[in-house]
């Protein structure tokens, strides 16, 4: 299986899907220069009709995506940083997420919105948000979060092929991560979580930017506490693989949810609520959440980094679940 970088896997998926369907277009700010590298080369390959560098006009770019998708295009919109979703939010929350319902199902909106999310790189408060649960709460959009090069490719293909608006949130700063990526038509179905590491004592439930770090934490738990931790990568937040979450906790009886969202109404708190509602009988201990405190991301690394989930914070939380360990 070929090895490639995270960003190359996304680029490959974009190129394959644009080649597959001539109605697929890509629009966004600097999609030609491509600061992350994910859209690099696509303008040369597919031409300026289908790959359009746009002005910095987020509120209209999201609206354009709705109109073009409603009238026959399959739209890929690159929003650059996830914080810029807020600038374009009307057409996301009021149009994209609602037009299908409001029209009585007359229309499908095949839109993929790409945005780079997360902190840890001193990009300061307006280039570091993790708006996963904000998007989940809209109900009318799908949300996927890749964690490794292979599911970056597979989820991107699923997102583009979906007939619903789908947010593909790229973990920031992970473009260089390398891994094996299946060639050809490799698709990661929406709504399926995957077990990244098997374990019997504790479920570490996570996604996207937190997955690699959580795997490290699982290793630490094994060596430091003798705790066998399963790592469940959610991959898709809407639709959410509730069955996989419950099945994992049925195996282990304990759960820590690791999420880069701010804590209030986070993905983690949603997963914890699901476990409280439907998995209570399986739980041997309270569900713990490792999230970002309800603060905006500061610039200085000494202030920012301690706010982010870390293997150390996971180990500390795990100790409370295994007092004998």
């Amino acid at each position: 299986m070929p090895r490639m970088r995270f960003i190359q896997a996304i680029n490959q998926a974009l190129a394959e899907e644009m080649a597959r369907d001539s109605r697929t277009i890509l629009i966004g700010e600097d999609v030609e220069a491509s600061i992350f590298g994910d859209t690099r080369g696509l303008l040369d390959r597919f031409g300026a009709d289908r790959v359009r560098n746009t002005p910095i006009s987020e509120q209209t770019l999201t609206g354009i995506s709705v109109g073009a998708a409603a009238c026959g295009c399959r739209v890929i919109l690159h929003m650059m940083f996830a914080n810029f979703i807020y600038t374009g939010f009307d057409a996301i929350a009021n149009q994209m997420a609602k037009l299908r319902l409001m029209s009585g199902g007359q229309v499908t909106l095949p839109i993929t919105v790409i945005a780079n999310y997360g902190g840890g790189r001193s990009t300061a408060a307006q280039h570091s948000d993790t708006p996963l649960s904000l998007l989940m709460n809209l109900a009318g959009v799908e949300v996927v979060v890749p964690s490794t090069p292979d599911n970056a490719k597979g989820l991107m293909k699923s997102a583009i092929r979906s007939d619903n608006p789908t947010f593909f949130l790229e973990p920031g700063g992970r473009g260089g991560d390398a891994g094996e990526v299946p060639s050809g038509d490799y698709v990661t179905p929406l709504g399926e979580a995957r077990v990244m590491r098997e374990g019997s004592d504790l479920s570490l439930i996570t996604m996207g930017s937190m997955a690699r770090m959580t795997l490290r934490a699982a290793q630490l738990l094994e060596t430091e506490l003798g705790v066998s931790a399963e790592v469940l990568d959610l991959q898709s937040l809407v639709p959410l693989d509730t069955a996989a979450i419950l099945a994992s906790v049925e195996r282990t009886g304990r759960a820590i949810v690791v999420d880069e969202s701010r804590d209030a109404c986070s993905v983690a708190s949603h997963v914890a609520a699901i476990l409280a509602d439907k998995g209570f009988a399986q739980l041997k201990a309270p569900v713990r959440r490792i999230t970002v405190p309800d603060a905006a991301m500061p610039y200085a690394p000494s202030a920012e980094l301690p706010l982010l989930p870390s293997p150390e914070r996971i180990v500390i939380a795990a100790r409370t679940l295994f007092p004998e360990a």
Binding site: R23, I25, D49, R50, R52, T54, P55, S57, Q59, T60, L61, T62, G63, I64, S65, V66, G67, A68, A69, A70, C71, G72, C73, V75, D90, A91, N94, Q95, L99, R100, L101, M102, S103, G104, G105, Q106, V107, T108, A139, G140, E142, D163, N164, P239
Partner: protein, 331 residues
């Protein structure tokens, strides 16, 4: 351009057809106002009586393949573009037989099969959407035109500047139609808007027409030129049509406002410029039809609306399950 450069006149049968469509809108809006008071509608309505000439005149040169985006005041656009009146009444009554299965209501009437991309409850939202429709049309290359109806209130949204810039930059087939009815909800334009709205398109190199929106012939004539411009691939066009909404911003305003925000004199002055009455007078004056024939057209419109009321009343109540099911395609 202050007005159309040509002086072309519609044939008699075209003029009568314009009148027939305006009558259907007028009678529908009057009926819906009564329906709100009777409690037949679960929600309120934003009526477009007084603005019929803009909707009908602009949609006249369009066919089913062309598209429109509309506003919260969208019944007239929907009917002018060929939307079914029965399905519209059922929708406003909140029935499963409505054009949007009772899920959208008055502010969201849409019929994609007729190019009615939808009314919209967010002021100015149609600007970006219509630009996107224009992009799809350009890529398809079959000469479809997207028309964006918006009001003078929406002209103060920043997305107007963005949409004008992008559509002109990419030469998209989008006709921007500003229905300047003089009010942003309850605020007179003079208190919230600077300058002449159509001038806002000028620096983008977009052709502009500024017209009397209550003169259906002028609207019809201008729309033909502007739509031709867009269809030819020359890029967007912009029409500002001055008009007036007789029934105010929305149907409950008399109940919630403590003081009137417009004078009786102002309303009467605009009533004297009623586009429906003016068209009728023109028809008779021109000899296209006589008063009795005009009377018959009115009775036909009344009968059509009566049928729509009956259709809507006979409709069934949709359930919440429909809403959950409609949120995702393929579910």
């Amino acid at each position: 351009m202050a007005a159309s450069t040509s002086n072309i006149q519609p044939d008699d049968d075209v003029l009568i057809e314009l009148y027939r469509r305006m009558l259907l809108i007028r009678k529908s809006e009057e009926q819906l106002f009564r329906d709100v008071k009777l409690g037949r509608t679960p929600g309120q309505v934003h009526l477009s009586d007084g603005q019929e000439a803009v909707a009908v005149g602009i949609c006249a040169p369009l066919d089913d393949r062309d598209q429109i985006t509309s506003t919260h005041r969208g019944h007239g656009h929907y009917l002018a573009k060929g939307g079914d009146v029965n399905a519209m009444f059922a929708e406003v009554y909140g029935k499963a037989e409505g054009i949007c299965r009772g899920m959208g209501g008055s502010m969201h009437v849409a019929d994609f099969s007729k190019g009615i991309v939808g009314a919209n409850g967010i002021v100015g939202a149609g600007l970006g959407i219509a630009t996107g429709v224009g992009l799809a049309n350009q890529l398809e290359g079959e000469g479809r035109v997207a028309v964006c109806f918006f009001g003078d209130g929406a002209a103060n949204q920043g997305s107007l500047m963005e949409s004008l810039n992008i559509s002109s930059l990419w030469r998209l087939p989008v006709l921007f139609v500003c229905e300047n009815n003089g009010f942003s909800e309850f605020s007179p334009s003079g208190t919230v808007t600077c300058g002449v709205i159509s001038d806002r398109a000028r620096p983008f190199g977009i052709p502009i027409w500024n017209i009397d929106g209550n003169d259906v012939v002028e609207v019809w004539r201008t729309a033909r030129e502007a739509v031709d411009h867009c269809r030819s691939g020359a890029g967007p066009a912009f029409i500002e049509a001055r008009t007036y909404r007789f029934s105010g911003h929305f149907s409950a305003e008399a109940m919630i406002l403590s003081t009137p925000y417009r004078s009786d004199e102002e309303i009467e002055a605009w009533r004297a410029k009623d586009p429906v009455a003016r068209t009728r007078a023109l028809i008779i004056d021109r000899g296209a039809a006589d008063a009795a024939a005009c009377e018959r057209l009115e009775m036909e419109a009344d009968a059509c609306v009566e049928g729509a009321v009956a259709f809507g009343e006979a409709g069934t109540a949709p359930n919440s399950g429909t809403a959950e099911q409609l949120m995702r395609a393929g579910s």
